[in-house]
Symmetry: C2
Subunit: 300 residues, 2 copies
């Protein structure tokens, strides 16, 4: 028998700055997935969130929605307070008043750190998903993305973490800076990527100066197509790894992320002798939301 | 007797990516200045350059125009070839065919370097202006800007140079990244600037990780207004100085730039014990164009 969205007993929602994804869930099974580009950044007014959620879940039963991500930020739907590290990864839920659209909507709170200052919203739920499957996980989780997070996990808690703006800076440099003229897309060049990662780790100041060379090389040299993109991602991921050395050195690292970016971090870490493992970020997100839903059902 | 633009015997033009400035000149004296935001980047077709120049110099006599900057780039009016270092700073001029607008228009060529790859267009004319006043200048010229240039000058020649994208990255981070929410303008804080510059010089990888803290500190901490801007410029200029250490260490450095940015580089260099001197960039540009005009007049 095939189940449809009508059989859902809850809805999982991953609502970040740029995107919203919802899954009609039956227990741990995702029955249907829907996506929208109306992330938190596209919602000028708090009431827009209810409309967008109703639109994207149209026809689905009136079951609880468990959401994580920037939807709980100050500029989001309902501001959900941060918890401070060290704290359990499993998020605490805050209900949106009034059951919008006839459904209870529960938003997961983020995690903050005061020394040094740092924040996350959404990644704590992915980490909770990892811990739901492996309660005794002890090590480091790397979550590459617009803002890459490195988190040290021990005894079921997020002990401390670090954010590096690698993905956002890659996007700005490759789409909006003068480098965009020289970043012709082409096949990824693993040798060039490895070379730049190593250089950025061993000579971080020179990595900074080497950025403009990507442009200059295409004007006065004979850079191969695709080479500049591989160099830029190698440089930026190398700088990220240099900043996060205390997280991965001598550690087992679990990388959670989309396949392409996760594979680059995996390659870079392996070059440094780290036995990294790549896990699926969406699976982790849904597992973290599932754990939160089960806890909510148990107490409601 | 007061001179007006009608008394000009040549026109100086500084035509970069974002702006065009022209001066009606009588010898070394600037009689009138006009500005436009129609830089090279705003000119979709080569013929637009002639229209824009005619518009901005309307009413001025039909005297030669000597121009430098991105107007001579591949995406500019007429592509003027680069000369390779080491070479005299004094630019070679290429005439735009057909005396557009009834005036000879001469464009200064840029300078390139193959190892490592680098290019400049416009800065060579400013350097030539410095050398016109001080032919025996031997040292380093730092030209802060969208793309900061560091150039080693000896025996009247540009020996080698390095570009760092400091200004462009500052602009992208402060106006388009998530940091924009936390960069409340305020008074420059010299102590915070100095602290970040030092950190970026001694711990470049950590500077990379500290970028997101500017955002996080405003969410979970009590950052003072203006502090984040001073931290960001301190970080980026510190990274720039780290990349250019071979240029300034133990050298006399002449900084050419607009007053605010030049003052920041000056402060950062002085903290490292460098006896830097700040010179006016516009004066240097006109002096370099003047030397080129005199050479052109002498041979025409």
């Amino acid at each position: 028998m095939t189940l449809s969205a009508a059989d859902a007993d809850w809805i999982a929602a991953d609502w970040g700055t740029s995107n919203l994804r919802v899954w009609a869930m039956r227990g741990d099974e995702a029955l249907v997935e829907r996506r929208s580009n109306n992330g938190m950044g596209a919602m000028p007014r708090p009431e827009d969130f209810a409309d967008e959620l109703a639109r994207l879940t149209e026809g689905w039963p009136p079951v609880p929605v468990i959401a994580c991500g920037m939807v709980g930020a100050r500029q989001g739907w309902v501001e959900v307070p941060y918890r401070a590290v060290p704290c359990p990864a499993a998020p605490e839920l805050t209900a949106v008043p009034g059951d919008p659209g006839g459904r209870p909507v529960l938003i997961a709170g983020g995690v903050m750190q005061t020394d040094p200052p740092d924040v996350m919203r959404g990644e704590e739920t992915q980490i909770a998903g990892v811990l739901a499957a492996k309660p005794d996980f002890d090590g480091v989780i790397c979550l590459p993305g617009t803002h890459t997070k490195w988190a040290r996990i021990s005894a079921g808690e997020i002990c401390h973490f670090q954010t590096v703006m690698t993905g956002e800076i890659f996007g700005l440099l490759s789409r909006q800076s003068v480098l965009r003229h020289s970043l012709i897309s082409g096949d990824h060049d693993p040798a060039v990527f490895a070379e730049e990662t190593d250089r950025a780790l061993s000579q971080p100041h020179q990595a900074w100066a080497r950025l403009f060379r990507l442009r200059a090389a295409s004007l006065v040299g004979d850079a191969a197509p695709g080479e500049a993109v591989s160099r830029l991602s190698g440089s930026l991921i190398g700088l990220d790894l240099g900043a996060a050395r205390a997280y991965w050195l001598g550690e087992q690292v679990l990388i959670l992320g989309n396949s392409r970016l996760a594979a680059l971090y995996d390659a870079a870490l392996r070059m440094q002798g780290v036995a990294s493992v790549v896990g699926d970020a969406d699976t982790a997100t849904r597992a973290g939301l599932l754990a939160a839903w089960r806890k909510y059902e148990g107490r409601s």
